[in-house]
Symmetry: C2
Subunit: 161 residues, 2 copies
Amino acid sequence: MKMSEGVEWAVHSCLNLAWVGPAGAVTATQLAAFYDLPTAYFNKQLQALARAGIVTSTPGPRGGFRLARVPEQITLLDVVRAIEGPTPAFRCTEIRQRGPGAQAPENYLLPCAIAHAMGRAEQAWQQSLADQPIADVDADVARTAPTAAETTRRWFDSQRA
Amino acid sequence: MKMSEGVEWAVHSCLNLAWVGPAGAVTATQLAAFYDLPTAYFNKQLQALARAGIVTSTPGPRGGFRLARVPEQITLLDVVRAIEGPTPAFRCTEIRQRGPGAQAPENYLLPCAIAHAMGRAEQAWQQSLADQPIADVDADVARTAPTAAETTRRWFDSQRA
DNA sequence: GATTTCCTACTCGGATACGGTGTGTCCGAGTGAAACTGG
DNA sequence: CCAGTTTCACTCGGACACACCGTATCCGAGTAGGAAATC
């Protein structure tokens, strides 16, 4: 069970966009170049964020991406679901109803106990993600690497010139 | 991010083994036939459980698998980690240290804030799994489908004859 | 009849192919700005 | 000098290949039990 690599890129992009601010749009090329990552694939992930309403995209010259909301209102769950999709990790295929062990359909009105337990765990995971907005991650970065935000902002500003 | 299908099979197998009891070993062929699933692949999952010390395997005629511990001491986390492996879903590739945005290595002594936040969520997930032994799932099944345990046990007994 | 030997059938276990999803890349549609032309 | 028009470079957006891991399968090593031969 592995999470898509794009999630890491997306969260970093949200942080970068938050640091740059809503004034100017940042292109996918610039965001990819900042980490030396494949441009086109990076763009693909940003499109997913745009579809989810996390960032807004403007085409044409001087276009690019910018945050659609303030960092306080973008949770990690939003970003993860935008990239990974809404499908839960554990998918009950109802094998209990298959084979010679199967009973009458009336016995399967209640959900599978295993799926129930797994769903509970996943809900705990999602809750933890939902409780952490991008702003919180930003605060953690400000505490552990105080110079990162300002340095990043200046680099993107220099690219715009 | 999807979990391996084998997890569902493994948990069901643990429940079935718990219902049959430690007296007689159950073969992979029987467990697979019970749900009408591919035998060889099912065997592969059971091997993973055996490597993790969740079940014990005995070769030869009258051989098979049986639970290595009582259901109270087998958590869902044990089963999931046995099948999925210990690798966490989110793997930080440290892209923050790549590209022109990289700073001096001394700035990266503390762990990445994003990986930290993701790790916190995964820990909540694992904790929820660790808090639910197979015995709890068994109890839930006994509540929602009281006849399942006894019916299953009888079917496997009939196969042994 | 009891014991030893051998054999056979059955089990798990790891090594070997196939397919689907994530990964990576490409080119086209749309847009805004800048340059050019005419008044 | 100013307004209108044209052109063009730049952006996102979706459609197109490649690779790796999960899925599925097969055959071999090992073992227990039973049958046969011997005493």
